[in-house]
């Protein structure tokens, strides 16, 4: 399935999204729920930060159009 390019997984902002250190109100519902779920799992030690980043990255690849405006604000450019 073709997608628009999203920021590489090596960017530190992905980690900050999971830890909650980026203050951003996400606009897209699936991203809101996924981020909240990942933060809770990391806090409860049921998921590693790396696994959480991986799964969020995969989701954002699929919804690259929908999350684009969030990413412009978070990553600025890539």
């Amino acid at each position: 399935m073709p997608n628009i390019e999203i920021p590489p997984k090596t960017r530190n902002e992905w980690r900050l999204m999971v830890t909650g250190e980026i203050e951003h109100t996400y606009k897209n519902y699936v991203l809101q729920m996924k981020i909240a779920n990942a933060r809770k799992n990391v806090m409860e030690n049921t998921e590693s930060i790396e696994n959480a980043i991986d799964s969020i990255f995969v989701l954002c690849q699929k919804y690259s159009y929908a999350v684009y405006s969030d990413f412009v604000e978070i990553f600025k450019e890539w």
Binding site: Y29, V30, M33, S64
Partner: protein, 330 residues
Amino acid sequence: MVVMTNKLYTLEEATQLINKNRTLVIAGDESLLSKLPEGNWIGGTNPYLLGENGGQYTTEKLYIKDFTDICSESKTKFYSISEIDKITVDGYENGIIFVIVPGFSQVHYEFSIKAPNLKNQFINPLIGWVSGSKFEEIAPGIASCFIASECSKDKIAVMFMKLPDNKIGRIEIINVYKQGNGDIYTFPEDGFLNTDFFVNGQINNLYEYYEKNNIDWFLPLVANYAGASINIGLIKDDVNKRALFAAPVFKNVIYKIAQSKIEDYNTEFFRQLEKDKNCKIEYSYSCLYNYFNFNLEGKTIDGFTGTFTFGEFAYQLLNISFVYLVIENV
């Protein structure tokens, strides 16, 4: 916004659609659903529908969404409590998972608690609703779901729909409630019933705390999920002096009482819909609480039809929310 074309159907019209082998999701009174023929459809008991003429309680019409032209394939299956974990892994690589959950059954409670952490959750839209009956008659063992002409009161009816490679499904919600600025509430356990809860870290009996502090039981608890306001409705049980929840609360999630209710539902509704004003809304459903609380009987929501439900699934069970599905090109 592109206006929805879905509408209310008579039993005869619904039968004709099914016999044309259309792929359908149907809501309506059990007396009608039980008369429908075999075919490619799932359904759930729910007599509160939103038609072209507004919200209505009806035992004479069915609300039908025809997904035939949206999905390239579909398959259906009932899931028991022991099979819940498979619901998010049995579908298509790119598709939609549509669930109809019999209200106030054990599978309703169990699925709602497990839903946020199911494997592959969020990869594909998981949408659907809790079935019910006439509000005054609701009780365990009343609500049903259907796959074709087979009925169940203790399993979840699921329709998996495959989308073409150049399409994706996206779900969004509209919640007219916002988290207030008051005390922080947390809960010791996941579930629909917590006798005790923490108020700013101090343990309290929930029922006693609400009564003592004259807190409005009709205002939901609201959690902030990275920007999404997720409601929990409370049900006051005076007989047992306790509170039940209409959707599960979760441990380690912060809840606050909602700000006072919005008086003008339509204005707030369309303000929140602004971001998708140019999209076609394929399917939508709303909490039955909105029907009663905002007096939507006989009132239209411009461009919208759908079902008033006993709980809305949008990945997980929500309360007092409006859920809609958009299909987008990629």
